[in-house]
């Protein structure tokens, strides 16, 4: 495990206020999801999951076909499709366009893909002002932080934290009432919307048969971002494709329910090309930037490519007992929680944070709530195997490898196993059935020591089961 990963986990666990904020907020989302997906409320829920899985599988298996269809249909509506292989290509495209059009101010609605490619930082570096307009994202932009959660980016901030940030960054009098804080942000953001030259959004779905972009949101900021400025750019991962508009009948029933426990989000917007003759609003130029940034690396692997089915609902984060303890910022990349644990090693390479797939008790709660039925625990197990194969090849972590070689050798030799068990038992300190707070050397090391940091150790019984069985 990297020192950084270990340190962040430790600091988050030690912060009682943060623990409470994250546990409460995720708990609320978790319970709301449970209510609206219950069998008596949505009897077809499990069927919808199977259909969503089948649709995503079909799309990813035929991604080349649907990318081309989408591109043709966007062009037919007067829009442009731009393919970008990495973060640099995305920012280069935006910077180039901004330069050509003389643009200075960009408004953005929530997009994990732009977070993934550090777009704001790159634009700011070149003197452009990019303003986040989703309230949570705006709070974090003022606080100079990355999203804590893929759906609720400022989930870890209490209203008092937000009050502190607004007071400091907007130089206003301290205000702690959430509604008033929202109105303060709204006033600032309205000005930005009216002045912005370019609007950048993400996408929840890219519809191949209609060349349209679907965005779901609750605040209306995505609608303003995509309709007010003269130029619109959608930035989306290539896996956001779905074949047909009618497939939304499946996905829209699942997305808001899984994400926030809503039946539908407040706004569902469809963007299909620039403003046409006779229309009163909409951008004059319309671009869809399709981002690879590691995604195509997953395509050859039949087992793990299901990781691309994700619709970024965040349900796996809210239900994950690990995420709920270590929070979003402990994770090594912008994607946190169980989905982050499976896509980070695949997008960024397994050495990015080798311990990440191991930071799970494999409880399976993530797979149970995933609306597109990604078998996250299974992918985690495969990634663990990948890490160990790479370590064995590179001759790293040799002590652990040796330990498991010995494990396999002992466990396939019942007599050795029994003898090893009795030797270990004879070394254990005497105990009248009480659990042990400490053990003497040489046993108080490695895994035993780690166990004893937080828990007592069971006493060793005087006889093993097989000894008891024989004398029965």
């Amino acid at each position: 495990m990297s020192v950084e990963f270990d340190r962040k986990i430790h600091l988050t666990l030690a912060d009682a206020n943060l623990q409470l904020a994250v546990y409460t907020a995720t708990g609320r989302l978790k319970e709301k999801r449970k209510e609206v997906t219950a069998a008596d409320v949505l009897p077809e829920y499990q069927d919808l999951r199977s259909q969503a899985n089948a649709l995503k599988k079909h799309t990813i298996d035929n991604l080349d076909h649907y990318l081309e269809e989408f591109e043709r249909n966007v062009q037919a509506r007067g829009g442009h499709v731009v393919y970008c292989k990495d973060a640099t290509e995305v920012s280069d495209f935006v910077l180039d366009l901004a330069k050509k059009r003389g643009s200075k101010l960009i408004v953005k609605s929530k997009s994990m893909t732009t977070e993934e490619v550090d777009l704001n930082e790159r634009l700011e570096h070149h003197g452009l002002e990019a303003v986040e307009t989703d309230l949570g994202e705006y709070i974090l932009q003022l606080a100079h932080e990355k999203p804590y959660h893929i759906v609720a980016p400022a989930l870890h901030k209490t209203r008092y934290d937000v009050a502190d940030i607004f007071t400091k960054e907007l130089k206003i009098e301290r205000e702690t009432v959430p509604e008033k804080l929202t109105m303060i942000a709204r006033a600032v953001l309205r000005e930005k919307f009216l002045k912005a030259d370019i609007g950048i959004s993400g996408a929840n779905f890219l519809i191949a048969d209609s060349g349209a972009v679907t965005i779901v949101e609750n605040e209306g900021n995505a609608r303003l971002t995509t309709s007010t400025p003269k130029i619109h750019i959608t930035v989306a991962g290539i896996e956001k494709l779905i074949p047909r508009a009618q497939d939304l009948a499946v996905f829209l029933k699942l997305l808001a329910r899984s994400a926030t426990g809503q039946l539908l989000s407040v706004y569902t917007s469809f963007l299909a090309g620039p403003r046409r003759a006779g229309e009163v609003d909409g951008p004059e130029e319309f671009y869809v930037v399709l981002v690879d940034n590691g995604r195509t690396k997953l395509l050859p692997d039949r087992g793990k490519r299901q990781s691309l089915y994700c619709i970024r609902c965040g349900a796996c984060l809210n239900t994950c007992p690990v995420y709920r303890k270590i929070g979003g910022h402990s994770f090594p990349w912008v994607y946190s929680g169980p989905i982050g644990a499976i896509i980070t090693p695949q997008f960024m390479g397994p050495t990015h944070e080798p311990a990440l797939p191991f930071a799970s008790s494999l409880c399976g709660a993530c797979g149970e709530v995933c609306p597109v039925k990604i078998d996250i625990p299974k992918v985690l197990l495969e990634l663990r195997s990948d890490v160990k194969k790479a370590e064995t090849r590179e001759k790293q972590n040799r002590l652990e490898k040796l330990a498991f070689r010995i494990f396999a050798w002992v466990m396939t030799r019942p007599r050795v196993y029994e003898m090893a068990g009795r030797i270990a038992a004879s070394m254990a300190p005497a105990s009248d059935g009480k659990w042990l707070r400490n053990v003497p050397p040489p046993m108080n090391m490695g895994p035993v020591k780690a166990w004893l940091n937080d828990r007592d150790l069971p006493p060793s019984p005087s006889k093993s089961f097989r000894q008891m069985w024989r004398s029965r």
Binding site: F358, S361, K388, A450
Partner: protein
Amino acid sequence: MRNQVSLFVTCMVDQLFPKVGIAMADVLERLGYRVDFPEAQTCCGQPAFNSGYRSEAREVARHFLRTFEKSETIVVPSGSCTAMVAHHYADLFQKEPETLAKVHELEKKIYEFSTFLTDVAGVEDVGARLEEVVTFHDGCHALRELGIQSAPRRLLARVRGLELREMQPAEECCGFGGTFAVKFSELSGAMARTKLEAIVGTGAKAVVSLDPSCLMQIQGAISRAGLNVRTMHLAEVLASR
């Protein structure tokens, strides 16, 4: 006389909690089963599999297949070890059709203890008596990989003198997770303490589960916190009279 069943007691019960295995054998024998214990048994291989060491896990799985080749029915006092055999062995032998066929045979004859009682033996009342207020912890693999939720509760409901108080939430992980418990010990310990809060909230004096590993984690944390709650495997509850 009912049929023969073979015990796979798991390495953890064999080495650390032998009374759980004895209790399971007692319950099965009282129901009229002839019980045997294939002595060559060791471990299912899950520690290696979950740690990413698949070839080592495969060796241990092969040993398991040989050991239980002749058994007609296998009963296990652990949802997690049952799930390893019934769900993950197939992943290990995808490239070996002959072994895979044996794995599929094995999947059909291995049962977690509580579901064996309710689904195969067809009993819910095993004649047990225990004056105790208990709460039940769902082991993650029993619940999510094997879909076991009602069987243990139905069995507990028929124990004379016993009161079951559900904790909220019963289905959240205790934080054990095999080597996770020592690789991320601080995090694992924090998860265990959250579990303890749910347990203490019920006022129960005992926590019951199907998995010795969950119980080791929970009891380890209870003992460290100095709480007056004990842990019991379901087999120990059902063997009480």
